[in-house]
């Protein structure tokens, strides 16, 4: 039987659209908040004159921790850490929250990407 050209394309297009839709449904589940019920320990971190205060934060090991970061400077800063896998811009004169861990015991340096020479610190998990 002779095929209509459109029919040739039908199957792959529908298969593809189906794949996209099923994925959309799957990934929408990612957005269901899964925050733990237990209280997360909180630690404050301040940026002043392109320095971190305190420069060393001691946190419990193997526990998720909430860092509350305040930027007192007149310029934005970017909190960055390779060890912690974190990257977040903190606007001038504002506060933000960064969740870190659970961390194996050890030291995890972080820095301010916009002022890396001065803004240095580390998280110590014990």
């Amino acid at each position: 039987m002779c095929k209509i050209p459109d029919e040739k394309l039908g199957a792959p297009i529908y298969a593809g659209v189906f794949a996209v839709l099923t994925n959309l449904i799957f990934f929408s589940f990612l957005f269901v908040p899964m925050a733990s019920i237990a209280a997360t320990p909180e630690f404050a971190l301040e940026i002043r004159e392109h320095l971190f205060y305190p420069a060393e934060i001691i946190v419990p090991a193997n526990t998720k921790v909430k860092l509350i970061v305040t930027n007192q400077d007149n310029a934005p800063e970017e909190f960055e850490s390779y060890g912690l896998n974190r990257e977040k811009v903190i606007m001038e004169h504002s506060k933000t929250v960064i969740f870190i861990g659970p961390l194996a015991p050890g030291e995890y340096p972080f820095f301010g990407e916009f002022n890396p020479k001065t803004a240095q610190g580390k998280v110590i998990a014990k």
């Binding site: 095929k3 029919e7 040739k8 394309l9 199957a11 792959p12 297009i13 298969a15 593809g16 659209v17 794949a19 996209v20 994925n23 959309l24 990934f27 990612l30 957005f31 908040p33 899964m34 925050a35 733990s36 997360t40 193997n62 998720k64 909430k66 400077d73 007149n74 310029a75 934005p76 970017e78 390779y82 060890g83 896998n85 974190r86 977040k88 811009v89 903190i90 606007m91 001038e92 504002s94 506060k95 933000t96 929250v97 960064i98 969740f99 861990g101 659970p102 961390l103 194996a104 990407e113 916009f114 002022n115 890396p116 020479k117």
Partner: protein, 258 residues
Amino acid sequence: MLLTAVIVVLREVLEGALLLSVLLALSRHADMKMFWVIPAMILGFVGAALYASNLNHISEWFDYVGQEVINAALQITIFLALLLFLVLHRADKNRWLMAQFFLMILVVGLAVTREISEIILYLSGYVGKENGLATVLVGGCIGAGIGLSLSIILYYTLTYFLAYRAELLANILLGIFSGNILSQATLMLIQADWLSAQGAVWDSSRWLPEDAIFGQLLYAVIGYEATPSWWQVSAYFGGMSLVWLLVYSLDRGKRRDG
């Protein structure tokens, strides 16, 4: 300060431009006209300016994790737009042309938005100050120059190799790009505490540290992480295999029908 400016801008330009060169090479390989690059860059710059100027408010959304949520949403949008583009393009590249261009603009425009916005934010810290802005701008230009040069090298290398093992290489790159973008989305959601946090699957920071030059390049091109979590690894391989499966089944369907 000059050196810092070079490094900050280089890092962001590298991430955006290396990605752009991969997509450009793929688009050239797919015989698409290149005019979509201009609207895509406009979208990138306008999006970045809007994002940067509203970041104060965005950051406060969802209990101070608005930044992460918006970034994750952008990355998932890029992923889905790329999937849809592949479906249309691989099924028949001459059909649904406007939709294909629109999706390509969306993918590239959104992909460079975040990097550009970080450069804007960095520079904004120096605007209106007595000293510094000139130095930072000079440093920024040097950084942007190095980043763009490396991207041009990557673009021509890819174009060269795409001429030989075209299909295979293009599909590998598309898979890596998709896995990478999805893995970054999960990282953002972990940072926001919307996804449960876990320990690292592996730790290669001794062999290939992320802050060394090679680690940085790998991060920019394939999304290398020295200590990834399970969420990231599964999103990476899930996204990658999904794209490969899709491309493979579409191509096979086409071959069978054609």
